[in-house]
Symmetry: C3
Subunit: 271 residues, 3 copies
Amino acid sequence: MQNIAKQAGDLLEQLRAERPLVQNITNFVSMDIAANVLMALGAAPAMVHAPQEAADFAKIAHALVVNIGTLSQDFLEGGEAAATASHMLGHPWVLDPVGVGGSPYRNAAVQRLLRHRPTVIRGNASEIMSVAKVVGLSGDDARPRGVDSAHTTDQALAMAQHLARHHSCTVAATGATDLITDGERIVRLANGHVLMTRVTAVGCALSAVVAAFCALTEDAFEATVSALAIYGVVGEMAAERAQSPGSYRVAFIDQLDTVTPADIAQRLKVL
Amino acid sequence: MQNIAKQAGDLLEQLRAERPLVQNITNFVSMDIAANVLMALGAAPAMVHAPQEAADFAKIAHALVVNIGTLSQDFLEGGEAAATASHMLGHPWVLDPVGVGGSPYRNAAVQRLLRHRPTVIRGNASEIMSVAKVVGLSGDDARPRGVDSAHTTDQALAMAQHLARHHSCTVAATGATDLITDGERIVRLANGHVLMTRVTAVGCALSAVVAAFCALTEDAFEATVSALAIYGVVGEMAAERAQSPGSYRVAFIDQLDTVTPADIAQRLKVL
Amino acid sequence: MQNIAKQAGDLLEQLRAERPLVQNITNFVSMDIAANVLMALGAAPAMVHAPQEAADFAKIAHALVVNIGTLSQDFLEGGEAAATASHMLGHPWVLDPVGVGGSPYRNAAVQRLLRHRPTVIRGNASEIMSVAKVVGLSGDDARPRGVDSAHTTDQALAMAQHLARHHSCTVAATGATDLITDGERIVRLANGHVLMTRVTAVGCALSAVVAAFCALTEDAFEATVSALAIYGVVGEMAAERAQSPGSYRVAFIDQLDTVTPADIAQRLKVL
């Protein structure tokens, strides 16, 4: 799929030229790595979540990510304020429903955030299936096999498509194979490395990267595919330089800085 | 002490096979390193502290750590909710009383948390002595020599034993020599490296590791001894690969991933 | 300027001998790196911000930094409590007005904090100009050219001087050239490296370092100049060992541990 690699490479260069500002309302564990991932890639982070000012910064930022990892009342209120503002202004925003399904509180938070119409929902397969269940999408072909178990992204496909259609958004389920759909189009990517799951919040940081790419183009599906394509290639290249999670994290951030469109073209695996 | 090394090695392999889920209600400074330490070793972290859902996750998790480092009302309420739930369910939980003695607020928090019967209390010598003082244990042989001063773990021995007996728990005072007691049994370990004190929150992350080991066996004393044994050996091995705190942190996390039972057997120093 | 380098080297040795305790009321993104930077350099961090105990720790700590990066009501109340206590006790405290100008909430927070008379205000050029504007200092020669735009520190000079005089404090505007003034004296330093801006919260950690140096001497201007001199030289030396942001962060922290007065003497560029 020459086109996907080409597009990802082009958007990567555009990102480095335009340096979009991404507002992060994200969990405490991911703040350091999310900010550093954005900066290494070439975007700019703003970590602002207080309800008193979250909407003010949504006006300044080019895109927003709301991640419910270490959920609290303040973060939820700030997330809703920023998401509404972003939606009104036509700025893209990404929902990362970390741990949805784990508690009624978390499910209710996702329901509230969905009202503000995320541009993209990014999670692992189980999270995507839980989101679909939370909003009442559970047709026979898409029933989750238990919220806490691990699922493959292909098990999440039907639910991801439902979700994308019902909420007019792009849905990305990431895992060994990444799956991206806007309800009609479907792309599967097969890069990445298992070490990405041995460093905390690498997935959370990806959601911030998706937001950064959504700031570059109207087509959120293409932006999301490009973000995941680059992230997966970077994850794979970093694993050639470091084999344990401490040094892998360092190599991963370095590789975000040095990855080129040629690397994407050469390595991207579209299924 | 062949037995301690053997047991630690066996539990290490068990941990990597079972991948226990550890709920962390911990300070902001330690979240990143605690999650990464758990993942590098082979356990799984869940960072969930909101009072609205802390007890829900305590049911899913195999063990819990409550660390009062950057204490706040929400964390304390979440910590109490999760600790009660864990106690009711028979899940082990570890109290890390960071900075106890530094303010009345912190002392009151420790008193409240102790009501929920921690399985293990892990702190430095001064913190263990302060906890004992906070709960009114201050016999002549165990009076702290000033809360803010540094103590050796042997100075904390009598208080640690009192505390373990009065609260039916295991107490671990860590330092140049680590001391673990359940009121009857006492073990002293002498691995580790001074660079462990030059990286923030390495001690906090240890408390999470103790929780992970407590998920593997009924005997919390043995679990704690094993966790400290492995951590000390890892700290020592990492110092052979890095001599300054930035690269030491990376080497330490890498070493958690690669340490073997044979390393423990070869290097463990039991006094 | 042999004198500045000499003084910085002397204070560096004093810092490593005295290990001042710095209380950090700082944003979530910077907590890990701020604590590690302080520890690598030789100081000791205390990360305590709850309104219930912030003032208690201000009594124990030798200096305080209040950074409004991820501002919230609790942090602001804790910051005010600690700042008042520090001011009363004659302990130095540093204000880092991250993102001031970005929202009315943030501007109001800066106004409230300024009442507690910071010893030093440290920010980038735009932040210093925004602080001046927030407190009503906007003479013709010092009008900001737009809060969100980047400014050089020389553009901030007049405002920095106003601010220093009106608030009887030292003002440090950092950037490609660092500028420090107490209203009368002015020093410009030209070390550092662009990679310092590619790692999150390196500037926030600098404010903590300024606080640590202010704990060593009555002359806050000299302390600030020394802190910035050392930090810039460290940033430059680290860039000789690492060229991408992941490994640069590691090298930077390592270099804080190993930098010597001789390095300062040899490399410091005073304009």
